[in-house]
Amino acid sequence: MASRAPVRPLRIVMAKVGLDGHDRGVKVVARALRDAGYEVVYTGLRQTPEMVVDAALQEDAQVIGLSLHSGAHMTLFPAVVEELRKRDATDIVVFGGGIIPDEDIAELKQLGVAELFTPGTPLQDIVEWLRRRFPDSQPASDA
């Protein structure tokens, strides 16, 4: 295997938007992404769309992962996408997870959310999706 010059691992901001505090899922996903070699900036609970986008910009993240269990996803997920548009940062990819009925998925994707992972999705699926989407961001190898 050829050794590579150190390449930055993919940076993902994980956030819970809105008031809901169920963080089991987002934490489990954060760990899985770390184990897959990514850098996860966890911004915690009760984030507003502005706070999430601000963090993503400060941290130079390429991806934002949102988690929501309170039913407010149709308002808050698109709000994040809209905020990215306002800050001219639409290159940042947004994905979401939590309690999201199938029928909402199509609409959310139309509104700019790249992918949604519903309850029961294996963690590997999320990792694979990121790998396919960002094939050049290999995990940091030591130089």
């Binding site: 008031l19 308002t75 309690i99 309850p119």
Partner: protein
């Protein structure tokens, strides 16, 4: 108070069983044979697995077999379905429907803004109103919620934590309007702030003032509302966050001890308030483990209350609990199967001797339940109560080699956790050090890995999949509802007396700044003056500040 049970050596009374088992075929599906929490389960338990202990009897200390001598022969458990959604008016209709269908107690679910002490017109409430419960902004909404429901005869459980004191005052104000004296008001308040810091994360103020508010409510009710269960010390949320059964048991009871300690420090006598503390557990899908957990809980609480806290009133020794079937075990795939899961979990709760029970509806993974799904959930309890015969004898699994052995082990694991929590200096230091949160995050992750490796199976999710997934009808909360609620709120603000509002809020602030004062009467005054929940909570935030957690991943 470490406990170690004397056990005779594991003896196969029939010596040939061991070799027969060896020779017998073994399943090769790779699925774990430990409990869901990872406790060892041997293929066979015999009399040799029973510890040497005097025989236990229901209704007698330490109540392992139940707190009442007659169990469900005397009285069935309360069928208390948690519900609430959208507006007070719609929820009021659902309550009347459920009461007419045979539900015997009410249980209120509030929406996210209400749970978090925000009014419906706050900017952070946008998109969140009415989704996971009913929106309550002021006394006006509370009156609508209970319109036509006699608070003197119906008991109500309210699931709310940080703002619990405010909602309780609203409930009392409604009772007052109905002419029901506080001494007749019956119900439960969840009001368990410690588990918010550990698991559910619906905290607002930092731990110290939060505990003060809880103790204020316990002290107040001990005198003024004696039939009210002041705290529902909860394990459900801890379990749903990913803990094992033993962790659920240990952390919940430890929280309970912390409340007892805090009240004693306030100067309350143990027997004055402990009888009104109650518990709330999860009923998960690993059947026997749950039953053992409930039995161990009763035994541990009884011993501690009597031996450590010196409680003399029997009622202080008897642990009463409500159970909810595990939300986290429900699947979005092939959701009809959730009816079966819920039935099994409900059965475990009943065999564990629960005092009251909520069964989940099959569509709750995705949204609030439709009428039909809610009805099936209730009927499940009725079927268990009246068709299966399990209610005919008390603690039917008592004496089972496996159950007694598992109960003992559950107790030992819990005691080990108590020691570890003590080594931090108690529950609050342990929470601030992130101890429980870390344990929970670790076991949540472990569980997920087991699933992905198929060492645990969830039908429809990682095995036995089905292509044809039925489209479930989901209850939707229209966004127009938000506007309606905000309008209602504005109306309240318009029509109330602003002088009383400012005066009572100032009094709340003042009481909050004086550690010797009990906040309850002042909150009650503010409620009567039609202050909104957000305003009252805001006044306390002014004094107590907000809490930011240290995230443990």
């Amino acid at each position: 108070m470490r406990v170690r049970y004397q056990q005779e050596k594991v003896v196969e009374p029939n010596a040939t069983w061991a070799s027969d088992f060896e020779a017998a075929p073994k399943r090769e599906d790779g699925v774990e044979t430990t409990t869901l929490s990872g406790m060892e389960v041997r293929p066979l338990y015999t009399s040799g697995d029973l510890s040497t202990r005097p025989e236990e009897v229901p209704g007698q200390y330490p109540y392992t077999r139940g707190i009442h001598p007659g169990g469900y022969r005397s009285r069935l458990w309360t069928m208390r379905q948690f519900s609430g959604f959208a507006t007070a008016e719609q929820t009021n209709n659902r309550y009347k429907y459920l009461l007419a269908s045979g539900q015997t107690g009410l249980s209120v679910a509030f929406d996210m803004p209400t749970l978090m002490g925000q009014d419906s017109d706050a900017p952070t409430s946008r998109g969140e109103i009415g989704h996971c419960g009913v929106a309550i902004d002021s006394l006006a909404d509370m009156e609508t919620l209970f319109a036509g429901i006699p608070l003197g005869t119906v008991s109500t459980s309210m699931t709310i934590n940080s703002p619990a004191a405010v909602l309780l005052c609203m409930y009392l104000a409604v009772a007052e309007k109905q002419g029901v004296p506080f001494t007749k008001v019956n119900g439960t308040l969840q009001n368990d702030i410690l588990k918010e810091f550990i698991a559910q994360k619906e905290y607002i103020f930092p731990p110290e003032p939060s505990m003060r508010l809880v103790v204020d409510s316990i002290e107040y009710c001990a005198k003024e509302v004696p039939r009210w269960n002041t705290v529902s010390i909860s394990g459900y949320h801890i379990r749903e966050a990913g803990s094992t059964a033993a962790q659920e048991l240990a952390f919940t009871l430890a929280d309970g001890f912390a409340y007892v300690d805090a009240c004693i420090e306030r100067g309350l006598a143990v027997d004055d308030f402990v009888p009104r503390l109650s518990f709330f557990f999860d009923a998960h899908i690993d059947f026997f483990e749950e039953i053992a957990k409930f039995r161990a809980a009763r035994r541990i609480w009884a011993r501690r209350m009597r031996e450590k806290y010196g409680a003399r009133d029997e009622r202080s020794w008897k642990l009463r609990f409500h159970t909810q079937t595990a939300g986290v075990s429900l699947t979005a795939q092939q959701p009809e199967l959730n009816v079966a899961r819920t039935a099994v979990e409900a059965l475990a709760a009943v065999l564990g001797g629960t005092q009251s029970l909520h069964t989940n509806a099959m569509d709750e993974v995705l949204a609030l339940p439709t009428d039909k799904a809610a009805r099936i959930a209730l009927r499940t309890q009725q079927m268990i109560a009246y068709e299966t015969g399990v209610a005919n004898t008390v603690d039917p699994l008592g004496g089972s080699y496996f159950i007694e052995n598992l109960t003992d082990r559950m107790e030992e694991e819990a005691e080990a956790y108590f020691e570890r929590i003590d080594s931090f200096g108690g529950v609050i230091p342990a929470i601030e050090a992130g101890f429980m949160q870390r344990e929970i995050a670790d076991s949540a992750f472990r569980h997920q890995q087991e699933l992905e490796q198929k060492r645990r199976v969830v039908v429809g999710v990682n095995e036995f999949l089905s292509d044809e997934d039925e489209e479930l009808e989901i209850l939707r909360i229209p966004l127009s509802l938000e506007q309606e609620q905000v309008e209602r709120l504005r109306e309240v603000r318009r029509t109330r007396d602003s002088a009383s509002v400012s005066r009572t809020l100032e009094q709340v602030r003042e009481a909050a700044s004086s550690p010797g004062k009990n906040l309850m009467p002042h909150i009650l005054d503010a409620v009567r003056a039609r202050c909104t929940e957000g305003e009252i909570m805001g006044a306390m935030v002014d004094v107590f500040g907000l809490y930011t957690e240290k995230a443990i991943i």
